[in-house]
């Protein structure tokens, strides 16, 4: 049958010539390639000392954002979990009690929010689905571990610290940034 890709080669079993039989030219050309590579730029970096530059919109370790006043933005609406193609996200919702207004932005919040980093494929659909600008992917790495349990990240690892805010403005589309400028709209109050 005719090849579709045109990349197949017909194997021939022809007799080798004298030069081919002594193998020396082939060995020498191999050594030449090796020596050439000694003077090339290295493809690797020695990691902890040298770090590679990440793309601005690198998709790594998630963050659950807080708003300007430090209240958690997530309302456990479940849209990230329904959008997640790997089904990595689970959550349990709870009702905000009186006096917790500074902790949670809306009357419902996620009491448990877990992402299984072994399931996560870092596609970013969760941040696209989020109606509250609560979840974003950041340029932080998910560290390795020996046990599986350690890869289920709860709110302790996901929610940003009040004093260590993570800037995600580069990840927001121009339309969103423009929309947020209009302070008189009830959405931004």
């Amino acid at each position: 049958m005719e090849s579709l890709s045109n990349r197949s080669k017909v194997v021939s079993n022809k007799e080798m010539t004298f030069l081919e039989r002594i193998y020396l030219p082939a060995v020498l050309s191999g050594i030449a390639i090796t020596i050439k590579h000694l003077f090339r730029r290295k493809a690797t970096v020695s990691y902890p000392e040298v770090k590679r530059e990440f793309s601005k919109i690198w998709r790594g370790h998630h963050v659950l954002k807080r708003d300007d006043k430090g209240a958690e933005r997530c309302t456990a609406c479940g849209l990230c979990a329904v959008a997640c193609p790997a089904e990595a996200i689970t959550m349990t919702a709870a009702e905000r009690k009186k006096g917790e207004e500074n902790l949670y932005r809306e009357e419902k919040y996620a009491s448990v929010y877990e992402i299984n980093m072994l399931r996560c494929i870092f596609c970013g659909l969760c941040e696209e689905a989020c109606p509250k600008e609560a979840i974003f992917l950041t340029d932080r790495l998910v560290y390795t571990d020996f046990a599986r349990d350690g890869f289920i990240y709860g709110k302790d690892k996901l929610v940003e610290k009040v004093d260590e805010r993570i800037d995600v403005t580069v990840r927001q589309t121009p339309a969103v940034l423009e929309f947020k400028k209009h302070k008189q709209l009830s959405h931004n109050k």
Binding site: A76, A81, K108, P131
Partner: protein, 334 residues
């Protein structure tokens, strides 16, 4: 009998049928949406205005068109009437405006609302509304009210369809809640938070097209699209006992009445079935509930397809489509 033509499809219906019900007999896309009309409650309709249609010919005897768009749930058919619904750009434009009006005071807190995913207003806005709001002023706000110990009233979300007061009026023998004040200030009230303690009061949760009345026993428990709806029944001395169990694993999170394709309950259930039997052993499970493919609830939802029923529905639709031009196939050069 009266012969009526809706969007070019002719049907013969009994005298006194409303245009909306005639359209429902045809089925499919020509059915106008309805937010306040409820087939199993008397005298509902005429309030939300989303079912507006254009009557281009009043009747065979008087073929003049009606001067304005009419509410199809409250207008009865006449012999020879010609109605335009989705074929009239005027109707679609008006409907878009009505949706915008309904959303003016709606808080749009769908991420919090328990109704999200099965909300009529959400579907309506998605299909007929505009993507952006033009409203910049403050929305009206109310405090949340507990109606009895099982129902939560979020007045902010209410669109004043009056369905719940008709439930209280017609299903229960002494009405304890109604609508107070007028216009923009209207609100559902229980006359100073008097508990609604009737056996069928829970049905106002099911008839509410938005998330204004929600089940407190299900409050924030689970998003509806992560639950599995199952048809089930039990012997109940008060009601038919035919319900839908909304389950997560073996756990019954919520019990509701069965809704038809227009999200209307045909057989109301009692409060005992709704609130007190959240145990799978109390029920005889019939099988997975049919969920529309377009609904978000259908994700991860498996059910057996009734091929006989599907074939019948396709044939019924083809009957109505007969003689209509087929849509042009997409051209390859375009």
């Amino acid at each position: 009998m009266a012969k009526v033509t809706i969007d070019g499809i002719e049907i013969e219906v009994p005298d006194g049928t409303s245009i909306l019900n005639a359209a429902r007999m045809i089925g499919g896309d020509v059915v106008p949406p309805a937010m306040c009309y409820y087939s199993t409650l008397k005298e509902t309709g005429g309030k939300c205005r989303v079912c507006l249609v254009k009557v281009t010919q009043g009747s065979a005897k008087d073929p003049r068109p009606m001067p304005k768009l009419v509410a199809s749930c409250r207008t009865n058919v006449m012999d020879g009437m010609v109605v335009q619904n989705i074929t009239s750009p005027e109707v679609l434009e008006a409907r878009k405006g009505v949706v915008e009006f309904l959303l003016i005071n709606h808080p749009l807190d769908c991420p919090i609302c328990d109704q999200a995913g099965e909300c009529d207003l959400q579907n309506l806005a998605y299909e007929h509304g505009a993507a952006k709001t033009r409203y910049e002023e403050d929305r009206r706000t109310f405090e949340k009210i507990d109606i009895g110990d099982k129902i939560k009233l979020h007045m902010n979300r209410c669109i004043l369809c009056y369905r719940c007061t008709f439930v209280a009026d017609q299903l229960t023998n002494n009405r304890v809640h109604g609508v107070l004040n007028r216009g923009d200030h209207s609100e559902i009230s229980t006359y100073i938070e008097k508990a609604v303690d009737n056996d069928f009061s829970g049905n106002m949760i099911d008839v509410c097209p938005v998330g204004a009345l929600t089940d407190k026993t299900f409050r924030f428990k689970q998003r509806v699209w992560f639950t599995n709806p199952m048809d089930a029944h039990r012997d109940c001395p008060k009601c038919s006992g035919k319900v839908v169990l909304w389950m997560k694993g073996e756990e019954v999170l919520r019990v509701t009445a069965r809704k038809d394709q227009y999200a209307e309950v045909k057989e109301y259930i009692c409060n005992e079935c709704r609130y007190d039997h959240k145990d799978i052993t109390h029920w005889k499970v019939e099988g997975p509930r049919h969920i529309d493919r377009g609904s978000v609830i259908s994700q991860n939802h498996y059910e057996r397809i009734d091929l006989q029923k599907l074939k019948k529905e396709v044939e019924r639709q083809l009957e109505f489509q007969k003689g209509k031009p087929l849509p042009e196939p997409n051209s390859l050069n375009a």
